[in-house]
Symmetry: C2
Subunit: 232 residues, 2 copies
């Protein structure tokens, strides 16, 4: 009650809203020591989880391996592979109002991970990979999907690819950023985002990831409320 | 001088000995965001670098990406890929008395890393990998090689594979550990080692990596001095 007196309801627009949020990379084992990984630090996702909790939401974080101290969330579930993340998300998704997919989920996993360490006899090695399930698209395709927010990390044609992903997967919103080069993103403390929805978009310019997460959380709350009002 | 008074020379057997030590994993980029990695934390290598400095050695550490605070070494060089580590080691190796290869260097790299993020259209993907140079074998094969210590992380037939590696690569010593399962090693605080040389071996049982590093450093010093006495 004290919190509500200090922060008027308008400043905590997500009170009692349940958010399921994925963060970090996934790791796809090739054998007991080697894996396919990616450069996601989990920093943007952790900051966004914090920012959504600060707006009143009850956040369940499902995260791949990171070296970050946990954010203060209602619940945290640690996973390693894309299949584990898929299971953790799909078993919970229908219980949430908002789903935010910041995790950099590996698109492919080894077709046949080795039980013992692979011996390196050959000069060349061919690795056969198979597609992982598309968690984001599966959540958005549920009969009664949560308000679904995706991320797109692109090295080129950022806005075009992101809007295509929004439409193709039936998302409510997508936050796109440019990775590689000096533009921020993976493994950096700063980032910039182009946030796109069906009939609009907004630029969040280069800034500290903590501040960027707060602005994005406020934008998610705004779009969620508009969507909620329109559909009820 | 105070240190020498407190620690008699016998307790600092590596005073003025130059040690080149590699640690951590390497990362082999597949595209700007994805990479092939491995589970080496760098912890054993960092602890060993510390322990060797404590015995009086001047250690140059060449390390792949880790999230560890640096050990107190004479010099530290950060690299990412196996090729970078190869370059950093081979340009320096002849200047050192001892070479210790604790790094988990990727055996393979992508035959053709993509400049832009790979689009995931196919259900299956085939990754063509090519062999990385064998840094350890190249150092041991130098005309006047340093005293060369390798590591072997094996999931099965540990001692047999390690002794084979010692002979095949012409090492002076190899420290073998069993990875996978509950036996310690990668991503764990404890480890056990079987240390093997041409005409002997010693078991260092499961213990904290810091203590294990001290025992291994003492054993390296002992074998190095014996080797040095025999060859001079």
């Amino acid at each position: 009650e004290i919190a509500e007196a200090l922060f008027p309801l308008a400043a905590r627009p997500l009170v009692d809203v349940r958010v399921l949020l994925t963060a970090g990379p996934t790791r796809e084992p090739l054998d007991p020591v080697r894996f396919l990984g990616n450069r996601s630090s989990g920093r943007m996702g952790f900051a966004l989880a914090d920012a959504l909790e600060a707006l009143g939401a009850r956040v369940t974080l499902i995260t791949g391996p990171t070296s970050l101290p946990g954010p203060r969330v209602t619940e945290r579930v640690d996973v390693e592979t894309a299949l584990e993340m898929h299971g953790a998300v799909m078993s919970r998704a229908t219980e949430y109002d908002i789903f935010v997919a910041t995790a950099a989920v590996a698109d492919y996993r080894s077709a046949a991970p080795a039980e013992n360490k692979i011996k390196k006899n050959a000069d060349e090695l061919t690795l056969r990979l198979v597609r992982n399930p598309d968690i984001l698209a599966e959540v958005a395709a549920l009969p009664l999907p949560p308000f679904t927010v995706g991320f797109a990390a692109e090295t080129d044609r950022v806005e075009e690819y992101a809007r295509d992903k929004l439409n193709r997967k039936g998302l409510n919103m997508i936050a796109a950023n440019h990775v590689g080069g000096a533009q921020g993103g993976f493994e950096r403390a700063e980032n910039a985002l182009t946030v796109i929805w069906h009939d609009g978009q907004r630029e969040l310019p280069m800034m500290d990831k903590t501040r960027l997460a707060r602005e994005l959380a406020a934008l998610i709350a705004e779009r969620y409320q508009e969507h909620h009002a329109a559909s009820s």
